[in-house]
């Protein structure tokens, strides 16, 4: 008993810093794919502070999506400690701590746009009037207020993805997890949505974890860029992005922007040279 008491001060190290929204300690994840063991994540250490916009970038197979899914309790780490808001991911999920935006819009084609946005609110049991008000508010926020009664398949790909962002925002989570949300869109649409997302993040003060394989996108959006490498998936470098807080598309032509992009590219190359 006394020993345990004596050890306590030492263990303070492990205590969760309150403002850490996500904290990962030595997180590893091994898939068992038909008898073959595939190491998707190996010893990932990462702390994400409240209000940050963190991008995970790396080649395909580097485990960036797996890590995001582990935060969302869609995958379970094989070892290590992963906490979301100081809770296990499963607890956080049960408390609906985060909104998730997938690679594809994953809208339900039999529901119109407004009812798609209301879907999580129905599941969480919000009253009807509140559901309507929120759908209107967040569709307005992503600039789709006039499309509430359209069906998903009547919208372009970019608009569909904006609906799915509105759906993730509708239950007002403090944490937004985004898995290559603009990966399937053309570059022009993508630029517009990047700007839109940046302004959304600045206005709401949410924490965003953003998976991408586009360097300009990561540099434009993030406060921190986590560079990962493949086989096994691990963190190579964490780059603090000190570009000004308010950004527009012209920023991408500046030397400061290109310098950060260069650092990211160097880190990606370094990660590659391991194999």
């Amino acid at each position: 008993m006394t020993e345990v008491a004596l050890l306590q001060p030492v263990m303070r190290d492990d205590l969760v810093i309150p403002e850490a929204v996500v904290s990962a300690r030595d997180v590893s994840l091994v898939f068992d794919a038909g008898g073959q063991r595939v190491t998707a994540l190996s010893g990932v250490d990462l702390t994400i502070a409240a209000g940050a916009f963190v991008s995970l970038i790396g080649p395909s197979g580097c485990g960036k999506t797996t890590f995001l899914r582990a935060i969302a309790d869609l995958e379970r780490p094989s070892s290590g400690q992963l906490l979301v808001n100081g809770m296990t991911p499963a607890e956080a999920r049960r408390r609906r701590a985060y909104g998730y935006v997938f690679q594809a819009p994953a809208l339900y084609p039999w529901r119109n746009v407004a009812r798609n946005v209301m879907l999580p609110l129905e599941i969480m049991g919000l009253p009807r009037a509140e559901r309507r008000a929120r759908a209107a508010r967040y569709l307005g926020l992503v600039g789709l207020g006039d499309f509430a009664r359209k069906f998903p398949w009547q919208l372009s790909g970019g608009m569909q993805q904006r609906v799915s962002i509105a759906r993730a925002l509708a239950f007002e989570p403090k944490l937004l997890l985004m898995d290559e949300p603009f990966g399937a869109l053309d570059e022009i649409t993508r630029d517009g949505l990047n700007l839109h997302l940046h302004e959304l993040w600045r206005r709401t003060g949410m924490t965003v974890v953003f998976v991408t394989h586009s360097i300009p996108e990561a540099v434009f959006l993030s406060t921190r860029i986590v560079v990962m490498s493949a086989r096994p998936g691990r963190v190579v470098e964490i780059i603090e992005n000190d570009l000004p807080a308010t950004r527009d598309l012209d920023l991408r032509e500046t030397s400061a922007f290109l310098a950060v992009a260069h650092r990211v590219r160097e880190a990606l190359r370094a990660g590659h040279s391991y194999d």
């Binding site: 609906r96 909104g99 690679q103 994953a106 339900y108 039999w110 879907l119 599941i123």
Partner: protein
């Protein structure tokens, strides 16, 4: 069926369809002359011209192939000249068969839905029962009809129930297979989404799996409608039933009443089309609530 609804079938098919049907009717009249001629010649005087022969072949009481207008007249007569409750009315016979098919369809729908839900949610059922459901689609299930009718007759169960049982048994397999496919139709992302909301199993079913399955339910329902009708008709054969379209077919073949057989056959086809139209109507209504798509 993969070829069921191609764009070809939809785009401006009215005119070609009418042309093909008219051509078919013309071929039919020629065929009637050819097939009925030997019989007709016996009745005709020597030296009768082709005109007389054609007229004779198109107006026989027991032709090998009745002319289309004879079938139309017989249909009109048996549909409209008797009160619909009379055993001489074809409406009465059609209703006897259709009611059995409908009852069977109801059974099949309830049982198929229940079983599909079980198969989708319980791995043991999926692995043990589903292969048998799929395999039984390759088996001539209709062959059990006479036995079921006879055995249920021994137990004192006659009339609608044995027919409904066979109709339901036939319709059950496509509905189950279609619903299993439909309930599994949601893609992994749509299911993951539900998980991020911590949705309960009932919510995943009512908000995702069931709505997603409707697009699969209607095509299998079309197959089931036809099968249920065939089942009800065939179930009327073994006992030599007094009423129903199957009974009319059988009676017609006993007494050589070809026109009656053809009339019953056309009635059965009409009932099948009516059933398919009803399914399409429900489908359209369901789709309308979803902006026109299922």
């Amino acid at each position: 069926m993969r070829g069921g609804r191609t764009s070809l079938a939809r785009e401006g098919a009215t005119l070609p369809l009418i042309a093909v049907i008219l051509a078919l009717i013309a071929v039919w009249y020629v065929g009637a002359v050819a097939l009925n001629a030997p019989q007709a010649r016996e009745q005709l005087a020597e030296g009768a011209g082709f005109r007389d022969l054609a007229a004779a072949t198109w107006s026989m009481t027991r032709p090998v192939l009745p002319a289309p207008h004879q079938i139309a007249v017989e249909l009109a007569r048996s549909l409209f000249t008797h009160p619909i409750t009379s055993p001489r009315s074809l409406v009465y016979h059609a209703w006897v068969t259709v009611s059995a098919a409908l009852a069977g369809l109801g059974f099949a729908l309830a049982l198929g839905l229940l079983l599909a839900i079980g198969i989708v949610h319980v791995r043991l059922l999926d692995r043990s029962l589903m292969p048998w459901v799929i395999a039984s689609q390759t088996v001539p299930v209709l062959a059990i009809a006479p036995m079921v009718v006879v055995v249920l007759g021994n137990l004192g169960i006659t009339g609608l129930l044995p027919k409904a049982a066979i109709a339901g048994y036939l319709a059950f397999f496509p509905i189950t297979v279609g619903m299993v496919k439909g309930l599994r139709a949601p893609d992994p992302l749509q299911l993951d989404l539900m998980r991020t909301y911590d949705a309960r199993a009932m919510q995943v079913f009512s908000l995702l799996r069931f709505p997603a399955s409707l697009g699969f339910l209607f095509p299998s329902l079309r197959i089931a409608v036809t099968l249920a009708l065939v089942g009800a008709i065939v179930a009327e054969l073994p006992t030599g039933a007094q009423a129903g379209l199957g009974a009319r077919l059988l009676a017609g073949s006993y007494y050589g009443q070809t026109v009656q057989i053809w009339a019953a056959l056309f009635m059965a086809a009409a009932m099948s089309m009516l059933g398919l139209a009803a399914v399409s109507l429900i489908e359209t209504l369901a789709a309308r609530r979803r902006g026109g798509r299922l």
